[in-house]
Amino acid sequence: MSISINYQPTWLHRINPSFKLLVLTALFIGMLFVHNPNFLLYMIIGALLLYLFCTGHSWKVVGLLAVPLLIIFLSSSTTMIFFGEGETTWFKFGLIHITEESFYRGIHLGLRSSVFGILSLIFALTTRPVYLFYSTMQQLKLKPKYAYSFMAAIRMLPIIVEEFQTLRQALKVRGVQYSKGVKGMYEKIKLYAIPLLAQSIRRAHRIAVAMEAKKFSKDSQRTYYYHLRYTNKDVLFSIFLVVWLFLAFICSEHFIVFPVEYVR
């Protein structure tokens, strides 16, 4: 079985993966200190533009992956809106208690988790794992033994998926029945996890032996098949970021959508 997703590489794919990772991590951390929902609103517009037009994936993939984003937005904002605390009551019905404070806090929370989600998706959709690990070895000096372990693990994933399907069929043929409720869940996890783990651990051991037999050594002196450098795409990305954040800031000052400036 093989499911492959086709895409057109865009400039986002050509950004140095380590640089992309560091920038996005910085954005994630920085966003925790943003308390103005207007700013987040304008940030999300920029992120959405990137997500919709620059990942190089088909509309089907982009659209399909947007569904969980929407769910994240709705679930994280509504729980806060409906059940959060506040003083200026707008609406009250049983457990549901919507106040002005909880409403804005909910919107803020929803926007923040959506920006997180969109940026992570952009990263996942535009970064080949192999490039990421080569780049972390070259730019961030990650030890090869860790990088190659991760890459070997990625190689095993499709095999595990295939095994999972066979296992499901095999258990059906063996007439396995599960108890109801939590106990049934436990039985299921046990029946699936043990064979899959046993196969994977054995395979991992064999791959490790094969790697050492191919003279993979612990010293980090090695050449690289892929050379990942900083390019003008990284400059472009940096400019985009600065302009984007600047515009978001200006807009949040002048075109105020939510009449609050400080939410926490």
């Binding site: 095999i159 069929q169 063996r174 054995r202 395979r203 098949y225």
Partner: protein
């Protein structure tokens, strides 16, 4: 030169020694084949000669002299457990990186090594997962060649390949190994013999029984090879000659499964189509065809394990015309995925609990099956602790113990040694004589000739030919009526 002197080794958990005062030396440029029964420690010996034990794999060994070659390459058995990268070019590049080859030379080297093993791809950046088993093993050889080794160790490189793949791999190895020292461990040796200068036979306790030229070994030790389950050339003739004359016998015209305009789907695509076919009670149907032709898909569809459409009727005893797993046994290729309990005994009991067999018969029946399938001495073991052959027999036993009407087997003899294969074939034949219908996917033309009552040839997801073999005489092996092409 490789040399081992007075080797003592044991598995960490074992009580007895695997090797005791074992010595072996192999000259530069020599090509040696090591054979022996399963569990005689051949693969371990290879790893000791390569120096992987004790450097990489921990194992208590004691040796007076262990002269190894720094420049070696090893090809392993499992095509899915020797690559760490996901793409063909990256895998060879991994070796080149380890050897500190400058990046600008890598593409040329990759082309060169792939060319040597006959893997011409339009684009070297191909997902390894898409390759067939034979291609994967040739890629494994290419990545080993990238080490520019003086010594090649081959640890059953074709155990998990079909005939076509096996031939391709040995043809490739013949070409690339000319100037190298080669040490081979292998069970299927038809294609290996023209390649080697010397054959060494090990026995169960890891001592050398014979050591000599291939011709000499085959004239003198043929019965030993048969006993150890080595797939030597013409072993099927030897096997057939000692078989009692059996008839394909009591053929009924009672259908057990009929199919009409029957389709099987995978990921919403039609993968298999049967216009009209029926399986009668007492049949032994062999499904043959190339890799990826849809043999397993057909079996999964008959078991309703994938999405199907069209007409399929089951005529099983004690049930309506539905697919009923209590009356239908299925044996997957990887037996481990079928085990659901913690011991051999309970595994068999589990099958009975889901059948219509009355409880008071359980103990007798389990004991009987343990004996018949030669598993009595391991009845308390965890299924994962069994040997490859025992696992396979247990997975068959769990299917047959519950009085099934029909048994579907997906390449049950694949990767098994000759001894276990013959043992299983006889068990299947006994089941068939007791009224169980057998449907099996196989690549082995000899099994089709000796046992099958019908052969279904599959190509592109369709049954292209159905041969009725039950009308043939006993001496089928001698007059080749069909030309099998695999």
């Amino acid at each position: 030169m490789l040399e081992i002197k007075n080797l003592r080794a044991k598995y960490p958990s074992a009580t007895s020694l695997l090797f005791k005062d074992f010595s072996l030396s192999i000259n530069k440029g020599e090509k040696v084949l090591l054979v022996g029964p399963s569990g005689s420690g051949k693969s371990t010996l290879l790893q000791i000669m390569a120096g992987l034990i004790p450097d990489v794999i921990e194992m208590p060994i004691k040796v007076d002299k262990q002269q190894i070659s720094e420049s070696y390459g090893m090809v392993f058995q499992d095509p899915d457990a020797q690559f760490c990268m996901s793409y063909v070019d990256e895998e060879i590049a991994f070796v080149l990186e380890n050897r500190k080859t400058p990046q600008q030379d890598m593409d040329d080297f990759i082309d060169q090594y792939l060319d040597q093993v006959g893997l011409q791809l339009d684009d070297n950046h191909v997902s390894i997962q898409q390759l067939s088993g034979g291609m994967k093993q040739r890629l494994a050889i290419a990545s080993v060649l990238a080490l520019e080794p003086e010594v090649l160790f081959l640890d059953e490189p074709t155990a998990m390949l079909d005939q076509v793949g096996t031939k391709q791999v040995w043809d490739t190895l013949k070409e690339v190994s000319e100037d190298k020292t080669v040490v081979i461990v292998e069970h299927k040796i038809d294609h290996v013999l023209p390649l080697v200068d010397r054959v060494i036979i090990l026995n169960e306790t890891g001592s050398i029984v014979a050591n000599g030229e291939p011709n000499h070994i085959f004239s003198q030790f043929r019965s030993k090879l048969y006993q150890y389950g080595i797939w030597y050339p013409n072993i099927w003739d030897d096997y057939a000659s000692q078989l009692p004359n059996h008839s394909h016998g009591d053929k009924s015209h009672q259908p057990i499964i009929t199919m009409h305009s029957f389709y099987g789907y995978y990921l919403k695509q039609i993968k298999m189509h049967v216009e009209d076919a029926e399986i009668n009670r007492g049949d032994w149907i062999a499904i043959t065809g190339e890799n990826g032709s849809g043999k397993s898909t057909l079996m999964l569809a008959m078991m309703q394990l994938i999405k199907t459409s069209g007409e399929i009727s089951y005529f099983l005893s004690e049930s309506s015309r539905r697919c009923d797993y209590r009356k239908m046994g299925y044996v997957f290729q990887n037996p481990e995925l079928q085990f659901v309990t913690n011991s051999v005994y309970v595994e068999l009991e589990h099958s009975l609990k889901h059948s219509n067999v009355p409880q008071y018969q359980f103990v007798n029946r389990i004991e009987e099956h343990l004996t018949k399938y030669n598993l009595y001495h391991v009845k308390a073991h965890h299924p994962y602790q069994l040997s490859v052959g025992q696992k396979k027999r247990l997975s068959v036993a769990t299917a047959t113990i519950a009085d099934v009407d029909i048994l579907l087997l997906d390449e049950p003899t694949f990767g098994q040694d000759a001894k276990n294969t013959f043992q299983m074939l006889e068990l299947f034949e006994e089941c068939r004589k007791n009224g169980v219908t057998i449907v099996m996917v196989t690549h082995q033309p000899e099994i089709v000739e000796l046992y099958a009552t019908k052969e279904w040839k599959i190509k592109g997801g369709e049954i292209t030919d159905i041969f009725d073999l039950s009308k043939q005489t006993e001496n089928m092996l001698k007059d080749d009526i069909y030309v099998y092409q695999y």
